[in-house]
Subunit: 174 residues, 2 copies
DNA sequence: CCAAAAATCACCCGAAAGGGTGACGACATC
DNA sequence: GATGTCGTCACCCTTTCGGGTGATTTTTGG
């Protein structure tokens, strides 16, 4: 947490320096102050938003409420069905999924798959590339790759499609 | 979510206006540009951080862990099963699927996906690499890649995982 | 507070995947 | 015979993936 303030100040100083430098070289020709202010505003807004997202990312109060749903299922069709989940991660797809999905946490634990890894796996299953996943989760692509490698190893998969297949078989993915 | 962008732009304009106004009246005396930029930077950083906090506040995940308790009732559900296919391609997986799967041929035709392409797609979905698929179907790897490219194009997918996801959504894959 | 676990990131390298183009033969249809 | 579709294959090039290694930081549990 302390590091964020540091890089904030640092990047701020650097940005100001750069802006002032460029301002004195190029932009100053005519629309000096207005454009300058707008530039600084935009850049620092983006930076602030990014920082806000980043420092609150893990502040997701994981208020884990366990909701037990009893569902009556015809014995021949053991399809999981239950309430619609609030979490967009498990939300309905374009083809209105009528059954909410709950990952098999027992299996997940026996395999030693962490929550983060499962999160990455679900995004992999949705067809995102590592880069897209990285930008969605505000982490680097290398991190995504690391998680991928770990979860592939735990699932005994060599490819992401295989990992997705295994995940679905094991009840980890919808 | 859209409201935030609006108030963002609005507040941005107002802030810029205020700053420009004040800048021309008070601060301009001596430290014009530097102080001006710093002010804008600080204000907009704070604003960005605030905005980041706000738009992530709703994501304060009240992560309901939905535990689905399946209560089996005596089977009175006649399986709405399609014809059992002879092709082992659609056979039961490791997690004994009780309902046979029949691909949505209508959708398949509207998308212009040929049988061969769908065949390759199912193998892709099972986690096989292009090489493995090639050896299974007794064709060259290049051919598999060609089919893959075609079906990816028809599904609007850029990656195989994405193609698999789309295929499942569209009822082309089990 | 400390130790373990988890998450993050970087770098390298080889393999796999994907895009594009062109081509050829089989087969059906008109 | 001309046309069109489909399946097959090759080549080149770029991007993405996956494996391996090592490191730091954050979180968590005791």
């Amino acid at each position: 947490m302390k590091r964020h303030v540091l890089i904030f100040g640092l990047a701020g100083g650097i940005l100001i320096a750069i802006l002032q430098y460029t301002e004195y070289r190029f932009v100053v020709i005519e629309h000096s102050v207005e454009l300058y202010g707008a530039l600084v505003a935009i850049l620092f807004s983006a930076f602030g938003i990014w920082l806000g997202l980043r420092i609150t990312r893990n502040r997701e109060t994981i208020r884990e409420t366990v909701v037990v749903k009893e569902v009556f299922v015809p014995a021949e069709a053991p399809e999981r069905s239950g309430a619609e989940s609030k979490d967009p991660l498990w939300g309905s797809g374009p083809k209105a999924r009528h059954a909410a999905f709950a990952p098999d946490t027992a299996r997940q634990q026996t395999l030693g798959i962490t929550a983060r890894e499962l999160e990455i796996l679900t995004l992999v299953a949705r067809g995102f590339s590592n880069r897209e996943i990285a930008s969605q989760l505000f982490v680097s692509e290398n991190t995504v790759k690391t998680h991928c490698g770990r979860v592939f190893d735990k699932l005994g998969a060599a490819r992401r499609t295989q990992a997705v297949q295994r995940g679905k078989e094991l009840g980890l993915l919808p």
